[in-house]
């Protein structure tokens, strides 16, 4: 199959993937007890009639299949509906919260990839020794520590040690914000030429990025080390050495490119893990990204908002994996689709 055709096929495959996901989420949310009106007004003095009136207005009294058809029909028109609790269009809520998650995951990946791979390389080169064991244990420990716990501990350390890092939020509320162009505070600060805002944005990124990035780096360390050790045991590596290549050249030219290819694939899969971690990280550090939005939406049974978040997450993961698969095919000429 030609690459172009394969890409088109994979893009088309995204549609049924998302439809299945939306259907499953739709069904699960309707099976769970409660709905958004009950979640908001159920513990107030609102009467049953008043609550039913609001449910009617939101279309929650329609038969389930009609609600499903309405929603899926809207999806195909690009209409995600309205948040049942907030009242805003879901598309706008997603757009408002997406930059936070993108900023957090981007910088976390920027930390995780070099940290994880370098650690893995270092461990592989010292395979069997104390350094290798230390790195592997360190990675395992970090991998086992829950993301939210690690974040909380970092916050406590910052306060106790009086470190000059903010413990929550994206920007200092005491400053006037720069003009929001992209919603990505680092980019917007650069566009505005505001050094203070840029530093402030990075300062607020520090703790959440360390929390999330080290978590992903831990798994990358293990995979990188394992792959490199495997590759270093291959026959062609021995041949290269016997031909007179220096150890460094053998490593750089022959071992590393081959070892990194599977890591490429693994990194794509890790995007899903990163999003999962982002949900927890956003909660701990009060980042109002998609993850925090999703938690709140589930708590209040905001069906439309939940489904919108799920669609966006699914698109994100599908596209990322598609890019990874394409890169894999491009980087490794042996792979034919």
């Amino acid at each position: 199959m030609k690459l172009r055709t394969w890409i088109l096929f994979r893009l088309l495959l995204t549609i049924p993937t998302i439809l299945i996901l939306v259907t499953v989420v739709f069904a699960i949310m309707r099976i769970l007890p409660g709905d958004p009106v009950v979640a908001v007004l159920g513990s107030t003095g609102a009467s049953v009639q008043q609550i039913e009136a609001v449910r009617h207005q939101l279309g929650l009294d329609k038969p389930l299949y009609l609600q499903y058809v309405d929603y899926v029909g809207g999806l195909f028109r690009g209409d995600f509906g309205y948040s049942m609790v907030r009242g805003d269009p879901v598309a706008r809520e997603l757009a408002d919260h997406l930059p936070q998650t993108i900023e957090l995951t981007f910088w976390s990946m920027l930390l995780a990839i070099p940290l994880g791979i370098y650690s893995g390389i270092f461990a592989a080169k010292k395979a069997g020794g104390k350094i290798d064991a230390s790195i592997r244990i360190g990675a395992l420990v970090r991998w086992c520590i829950p993301v939210f716990w690690f974040g909380l501990v970092l916050q406590i350390l910052v306060v106790q040690l009086r470190l000059p890092f903010p413990i929550a939020g994206r920007a200092s509320p005491r400053f006037v914000r720069v003009a929001q162009v992209t919603g990505l505070y680092v980019v917007d600060a650069i566009l505005a030429g505001d050094a203070r805002a840029l530093v402030d944005a990075f300062a607020h990124l520090a703790l959440p990025v360390v929390t999330l990035g080290t978590f992903m780096a831990a798994s990358l360390t293990k995979i990188a080390r394992a792959n490199i050790v495997d590759v270093l045991g291959e026959e062609y590596i021995k041949v290269a050495s016997l031909k007179g290549c220096s150890d460094e050249r053998v490593f750089q030219k022959h071992a590393l490119p081959n070892a990194l290819i599977p890591i490429l694939t693994y990194t794509g899969l890790q995007v899903a893990m990163l999003l999962q971690g982002a949900i927890l990280t956003e909660t701990v550090f009060s980042w109002s990204g998609l993850g925090a939005l999703l938690i709140e939406a589930v708590s209040y049974r905001d069906f439309n908002l939940i489904q919108g978040c799920v669609v966006l997450f699914a698109l994100f993961v599908c596209i990322t994996n598609l890019i990874v698969d394409i890169s894999y095919a491009v980087v490794d000429p042996r792979v034919r689709l």
């Binding site: 513990s43 009467s47 509320p173 005491r174 209040y300």
Partner: protein
């Protein structure tokens, strides 16, 4: 990104390391430099007070639609309702705010004539008058939002003259004055609504209050600035307020200790009170109580023993509110003996009939109900929404009921599931929506969702609640609400546990922090010491 990585690998690693070290050094020095310098970027003339909060999502600031506790508290200072709640409350002393005086109520209690204050302007310069009041009420009704049920008794509004309106009611409602203290009833600027459109108005609505909205970064913070032309010169604020949202009370506490926030408005976990009280840089006020922790008993679940009132009375005799107050809340939250628990709500200690705790009596009642070997029931709670200690309370209740052979299985549940009435027992929190005893009574009448959830459908309760709200005579209301509380205590459906108060912690460089009821926050008193 990985392709770039592979390219970098081709470079000499030492160069990359040097570049990396230089970048990290620049970043660290910059963070240290800017973070420790005082913030010069205050374009406004007022100091800024950062108020941290964890409760409620900020959904929609439009007072005709806002219903979260955060929305209501903010709107309380951006909008003026017709009547207001002073910090020390009983209901008899609700004071006029945009109204010029108390309402004149017709003989049949169906028409309320209210004179309006003159010389008031909206924050966009539009004059406030009867037209604005009618516009706002009609608009709120048309929006049919989560909050519109509070003024359900108002059928229509007439303009009598430029500064007088008449509210025409569907039925007599003595609680209406309490409802009129809520921001949902506050007038909005008609010209701002027409000019801005609904979406923009939801983000930065315009009222007459002492603060005005300046900026809302959704999910992060919201900025309020003083409205310098506010009609009440004694309440013109002296600070900007930044309302910053935190996902978790632990993070809010840390931010307060660090100085990232000046006031932890709501909510600091009770278990953190002790450590904050010993911090010399932090003070606190006791915000007036506004909530009551309750045990809900579902009387209509199939195959549940709770349908028998003797079983429910056995539970009442087994619960030790004093033990809950002392063991979990160290006496800060006091044991609750009344259903209508707030001063001014005509509280009557109807639950003292089950005191002191009497396990023998509880077992006797279970035996009489046909359960000589005890019963098995489920107790659900939300570990986060109503306070982190709720789980401890549930565990202690399990222990207390276990003494009477009432074997309890604990379950956690989300807010929506709890409100859907799926469990035999649940621990909940009730906070009156407006400052009138009817706000509590509305929870227990058969047409309330809360009563429907626990399958409470008692004709006498409905009748007493209706009688009490239908008269404005305080003596008559007190007697009727007393009878209602006796009835509820005999039915044993909502068992009061403790009365909840909130500590508001703030840093010592902030002054003017006052106690408050519910969302009636008087932030215009706040100031910041400059030295």
């Amino acid at each position: 990104m990985l392709a770039f990585w592979v390219v970098c690998e081709e470079m000499k690693r030492s160069y990359l390391a040097i570049v990396g070290i230089i970048l990290i050094a620049i970043f660290t020095i910059s963070v240290g430099y800017y973070a420790t310098k005082p913030a010069p970027r205050q374009p406004r003339q007022y100091p800024t007070v950062v108020l941290g909060a964890t409760v409620g999502i900020l959904t929609n600031l439009d007072p005709g639609q806002a219903y979260g506790s955060g929305d209501l508290s903010l709107n309380n200072v951006v909008f003026d309702p017709l009547y207001e709640v002073p910090p020390i409350f009983p209901a008899a002393k609700l004071a006029p705010r945009l109204a010029a005086s108390d309402p004149i109520v017709s003989a049949d209690s169906l028409h309320w004539t209210i004179a309006l204050r003159q010389g008031v302007k909206f924050q966009d310069g539009t004059p406030f008058n009867a037209t604005a009041v009618k516009f706002s009420f009609d608009r709120m009704k048309d929006l049919k939002s989560y909050s519109s049920w509070i003024l359900d008794s108002v059928q229509s509004i007439d303009i009598v003259d430029l500064y007088t309106v008449r509210l025409n009611l569907k039925y007599p409602n003595a609680a209406l004055k309490g409802a009129l203290t809520m921001p949902v009833a506050a007038p909005v600027s008609p010209s701002a609504v027409n000019r801005m459109g609904l979406e923009s108005f939801q983000a930065l609505p315009v009222g007459t209050g002492p603060f005005k909205y300046v900026e809302w970064v959704k999910g992060d913070h919201l900025t309020l600035a003083p409205f310098e032309d506010y009609w009440n010169m004694s309440r013109v604020p002296k600070v900007n307020v930044v309302y910053k949202i935190f996902s978790d009370s632990a993070a809010l506490k840390l931010a307060l200790e660090k100085g990232d926030v000046d006031i932890a408005w709501n909510y600091i976990a009770f278990s953190d009170y002790a450590s904050l009280e010993t911090d010399p840089s932090i003070k606190h006020v006791v915000a007036a109580q506004g909530s009551q922790q309750l045990l809900h008993l579902n009387v209509g679940m199939p195959d549940s023993p709770l349908h028998d009132v003797r079983v429910r009375k056995a539970i009442a005799f087994s619960i030790d509110q004093k033990e809950i107050s002392e063991k979990i809340y160290h006496g800060v939250y006091t044991p609750s003996e009344e259903t209508f628990f707030l001063p001014g709500f005509y509280p009557k200690p109807s639950w003292t009939q089950y005191k002191p705790t009497n396990i023998a009596k509880a077992k006797e009642l279970l035996n009489a109900a046909g359960y000589p070997n005890g019963i098995d029931v489920t107790l659900a709670f939300n570990p986060v929404a109503f306070g982190r200690e709720t789980g401890d309370v549930a565990a202690l209740i399990r222990e207390q009921l276990g003494r009477a052979d009432i074997r309890v299985t604990l379950r956690t549940a989300e807010r929506a599931a709890l409100n859907a009435g799926q469990f035999e027992m649940s621990v909940g929190l009730v906070t009156p929506d407006y400052l009138d005893a009817d706000s509590v009574a509305s929870f227990v009448t058969s047409h309330s969702w809360l009563a429907r959830k626990v399958r409470l459908n008692d004709t006498l309760v409905d009748l007493l609640a209706q009688q009490a709200v239908g008269t404005t005579d305080p003596a008559q209301r007190e007697k009727t609400y007393g009878d209602l509380q006796d009835r509820l205590a005999n039915l044993v459906v909502f068992v009061p546990l403790v009365n909840v108060i909130t500590y508001q912690f703030y840093r010592t460089n902030v002054i003017g922090v006052l106690p408050y009821y519910f969302q009636y926050t008087p932030w215009w008193t706040i100031d910041k010491k400059t030295s």
